[in-house]
Symmetry: C2
Subunit: 217 residues, 2 copies
């Protein structure tokens, strides 16, 4: 299975690529193709140093990351989500994963959803009807993705309206470290999942913790 990461050289995308590249063929996309190429070289170097011999990872412009992938992960901040999607085409029949959290830092971190109700619902509205949009990975911090020596022992709620796509996304989640996917229901539930991330940032801030995650139990 080929996983394309739009924004694959960003905060979250970079570590995500490294975590996924030992099990999947990863296509790192970027607005700046040079950065994507060097990120993919760096990713393979790091993985080979760690003894992962079979990793496959390439760096391309965002559009090629969409075109070449079966599953496209939108690893972009909410403020660039709509403008980035507007420049891309070819999402027909693809599985599209949104880990995006619309939030703002005021006196505290707060959930500020778009009129659609959530970032994932905005993605669904902007893409062709045949794109199968899911939300996943919302609460995994960028630092955690990158810290390859640390197990990711967290729960990951996955939302989506297409049962087959959701099952495939849950299988991808379960391949990463000790992440454990939970079916959180239809895509509309993503509003409740996305609002978890600013809550976790507040918990971290007010309890002097770093990169707080969650487990359902």
């Amino acid at each position: 299975m080929k996983i394309g990461i739009v924004g694959g050289t960003g905060d979250i995308g970079e570590g995500m690529a490294m975590r996924l590249a030992s099990d999947f063929e990863v296509i790192i996309g970027s607005r700046e193709p040079d950065k994507a190429v060097s990120a993919s070289t760096c990713c393979m170097d790091i993985l080979q140093t760690r003894g992962v011999v079979s990793c496959r990872c390439s760096g391309v412009p965002n559009q090629e990351a969409v075109d070449g992938a079966d599953v496209v992960i939108l690893a972009i901040p909410f403020k660039h989500l709509a403008s980035t999607l507007a420049t891309l085409t070819g999402f027909e029949d693809k599985i599209v994963v949104s880990p995006v959290n619309p939030m703002e830092k005021r006196d505290f971190f707060t959930f500020v959803p778009p009129p659609e109700g959530s970032a994932a619902l905005l993605v669904q509205k902007m893409l062709p009807k045949s794109a199968r949009v899911c939300s996943a990975f919302n609460t995994i911090a960028a630092n955690k993705w990158r810290a390859l020596d640390e197990e990711l022992d967290y729960s990951v709620p996955v939302c989506g309206d297409d049962a087959g796509a959701k099952r495939q996304v849950m299988e991808i989640v379960d391949k990463v470290s000790k992440l454990h996917a939970f079916d959180a229901g239809p895509l509309a539930v993503s509003a409740m999942v996305e609002s978890l991330t600013p809550l976790l940032l507040n918990i971290a801030r007010y309890n002097r913790m770093r990169d707080v995650g969650i487990q359902f139990r």
Copy 2:
């Protein structure tokens, strides 16, 4: 410290009273005083059977549970929250705890906050300015409160604008089983906490689990 539980004979209040009565003097309030009295008798019987000799628990009308308590917990469903508060007085200078989650079951469970932004913010708006409102205990299921043989090994986000009141509520939380209080920030963050409960109900439903809770880690 005296803890009054408004709605102390309801789903959540009943188990909450039993869990709290071994460490605090608990005043069970109800619209129906007879039910409050029998709930308090039942609570003491159960605790004494379990070897807790020093439990103190009484049953009274809701208003007396407010009047007699230092800390008032509003253990009432959201749909009865405003109407119940409208019948009660005497909240001046009290610590008031809202575990209330405004949600509806449609095709799935969904967070439906009042115009104020959260149930806790609605409580703050309805009560006198000197009442020190916190949110806590939002994600602990009624069945878990009642199952005295089970440890409650969960994280509890606590929100509030008054630092002293929040600290006291966090100390109460930490006394209960293995609950662990986390400062989640000002009361406005309660919107993100309250939306966790319908998310957990969806997780339970779609993964065939019961009474799902959370841990921050």
